[in-house]
């Protein structure tokens, strides 16, 4: 116990003496949350579109006005030449072409279904999907005022009928579809993961590089003491950073905290041990910080991209979904969102927490086992 105390004292001295790292450790949560939360947006703003109006009727003007009034679409130009509109799309000036055919007004007033065509720039598939669904909502709205209806022509789903059934979606847990509510819990997970994977592991490799680890290895220090001494300081820093992040989420972003804060902190405690052990394991198989950094980044990128932060896990192919079962980042993001946004309690997240605990136990055992005072 005394040995661990001396190790901790030494680590904290070194951490607080590091004038480059120390500020970053505490500015990082703030910057990450601010930048990522505002930048990583799924919301549509100001989609420029061209109206190709071949009808020039009150109804066509009405539909176009509805698009513009939604706040998501801005009319870039109105033309009756479809080629001209396509040229603008090719140049990237607009992202949608709304074509209203001749006799649109006549059909719609006598109650006959009338087609309109949407052409959407789908280079960015996610926002193309959003444009389509927003347009659908506007057209539904338009239809509800009229006897007859429009059906929407898109390439993928031709002749979608919007008149027969009126779907009114109700979004649970995040009623305003506020992307910040959705992103911030995930970004907090990324933050904790970075601190966990990088700091402990890198710290050991640094001692390898400067040679101080040999001086420690000739002492009677026990492996578990050494590992504990390396885990605890950065565990504390990770938890402090998480608290800063949570405070910012609560009071800066007004994220609802429906579930228990203590539950989040308890899971975070286990999760940190897990990611730290992964970092330690990396440090045992590498001998320079460059190697360790490279491997750690490689893993981080995969963990995060497959963690459900930027792309929903549900829309991945099945094999990739199965891979995410072994991804601790995915589990913790899920837990965070469930507890913060849905108010889930221990009962709902029990299995995921047990899984994380199991992984933590495995990796910590592996890293203690792999850390050798004697090289062979």
């Amino acid at each position: 116990m005394q040995t661990i105390r001396f190790l901790l004292y030494k680590e904290f001295l070194q951490i607080f003496r590091n004038r480059v790292m120390l500020p970053i450790l505490f500015i990082m949560p703030v910057v990450q949350l601010l930048v990522l939360s505002f930048a990583a947006t799924y919301e549509l703003k100001e989609v420029h579109f061209v109206l190709v109006d071949l009808d020039h009727s009150p109804s066509s003007r009405d539909l176009s006005a509805k698009f513009q009034a939604s706040g998501y679409f801005a009319l870039a130009d109105a033309t009756s030449n479809i080629e001209e509109a396509i040229t603008m799309m090719d140049r990237g000036e607009i992202r949608m072409i709304l074509t209203i055919p001749q006799n649109f007004h006549r059909d719609i007033t006598i109650g006959r279904p009338a087609p309109v065509q949407l052409m959407i720039d789908a280079v960015d598939g996610v926002s193309a999907g959003l444009i389509q669904s927003y347009s659908g909502a506007i057209i539904r709205d338009f239809n509800s005022d009229r006897k007859g209806g429009i059906f929407l022509q898109t390439i993928s789903q031709p002749n979608q009928q919007y008149q027969s059934i009126n779907v009114i979606p109700v979004y649970w847990y995040n009623p305003d579809l506020n992307y910040i509510n959705f992103m911030v819990p995930g970004i907090l997970v990324v933050l904790v993961t970075m601190i966990g994977v990088f700091l402990s592991g890198m710290n050991i490799v640094r001692e390898k590089e400067i040679g101080t680890i040999e001086q420690l290895n000739v002492t009677p220090i026990r492996k578990y003491q050494f590992i504990t001494g390396k885990l605890i300081p950065f565990w504390i820093i990770g938890m402090v950073d998480l608290l800063i992040g949570l405070a910012l989420a609560r009071y800066g972003f007004n994220i609802p905290f429906l579930g228990s804060l203590w539950l989040i902190l308890a899971v975070a405690g286990i999760y940190l041990v897990l990611v730290q052990s992964v970092g330690l394991l990396i440090s045992t198989i590498t001998s320079t910080q460059q190697q360790a950094m490279f491997i750690a980044w490689f893993m981080m990128v995969i963990f995060i991209l497959m963690g459900g932060l930027f792309t929903p896990i549900e829309s991945m192919p099945v094999w990739a979904q199965n891979l995410t079962l072994a991804n601790p980042v995915a589990w913790f993001i899920k837990i965070m969102r469930m507890v913060l946004l849905k108010g889930a309690g221990w009962y709902e997240i029990k299995w995921m927490v047990l899984l994380l605990t199991g992984m933590a136990a495995f990796f910590i055992a592996a890293s203690i086992n792999r850390y050798n005072k004697t090289s062979s």
Partner: protein, 250 residues
């Protein structure tokens, strides 16, 4: 294995095809200053790393403080000190913090730690520098400090790997005075060097060439055997013989 500080029997370490330490056998008496001489790359550091438990031997036997290096290494570590060739105190900690840390790791009680710290400051002549970061100290002081830290826990044996390389002649002399003092306090000294004049300060000297020990005796004995005026001459003859053998016997 009574009364011997170190026993090595046919100790061997291979790295792939390369044999760094080749069937080396020697004994070190308790309380002795044992010099381990050799050119760069002769295998001195590898031998020291095996005896301090940093490296596993490939074959052969070795006992340190009466304990087997294969099975009782962690026990051995309580009775040995080690000063590596690479300076290995923490640069970003002060002198006092380094002493406190290593003392703490070896489990020294607080009172003894304080007394030892004062002693080291006195011996190394640090004075006010005790609260300076180690990085800012001149090399000579660093080396003397590293030695003091390596014997902080009063080990039975201390291994010094080229402790004086790069140090000025006056500091080297002071360093050897410190070694003598430690020796008088009953610590067995195992020291490698490639400064051949330093060999004269040792009780016994072994000369390592290409992983093997070619000669082992008191400095006077070696000079007599090889009919030489200095250890340097002995060393050069042994090294030449090696070249001779390589040229004409293979």
């Amino acid at each position: 294995m009574p009364d011997k500080a170190i026993i090595a029997e046919n100790l061997t370490r291979k790295f792939g095809d390369f044999t760094a330490v080749d069937q080396v056998s020697f004994d070190v008496e308790k309380g002795e200053i044992f010099g381990f001489l050799g050119a760069n790359g002769a295998g001195k550091t590898t031998a020291i790393r095996i005896l301090t438990g940093l490296l596993a031997p490939t074959s052969g036997k070795a006992f340190v403080a009466g304990l087997n290096v294969y099975t009782e290494m962690e026990k051995i570590k309580k009775s040995i000190g080690y000063m590596s060739q690479k300076f290995s105190l923490y640069d970003d900690l002060t002198v006092r913090e380094n002493i406190r840390f290593y003392g703490g790791i070896y489990g020294l009680p607080r009172s003894i730690l304080k007394q030892k710290t004062d002693e080291i400051i006195e011996i190394v002549g640090l004075g006010d520098a005790v609260n300076k970061r180690v990085a800012s100290l001149p090399l000579g002081w660093k080396q003397k400090l590293a030695f003091s830290v390596s014997i902080l826990h009063n080990p039975d044996i201390v291994f010094l790997d080229e402790p004086t390389s790069g140090v000025d002649p006056i500091t080297r002399r002071q360093f050897w005075e410190m070694i003598y003092e430690a020796s008088e306090n009953g610590i067995t000294i195992f020291v490698t060097t490639h400064y051949l004049d330093e060999a004269e300060y040792c009780d016994r000297v072994s000369i390592m060439v290409d992983g093997r020990i070619d000669a082992l005796d008191t400095p006077a004995g070696l000079k007599k055997t090889f009919n030489a005026d200095s250890i340097e001459e002995v060393f050069i003859r042994l090294a030449r013989k090696e070249v001779w053998d390589e040229r004409y016997q293979s």
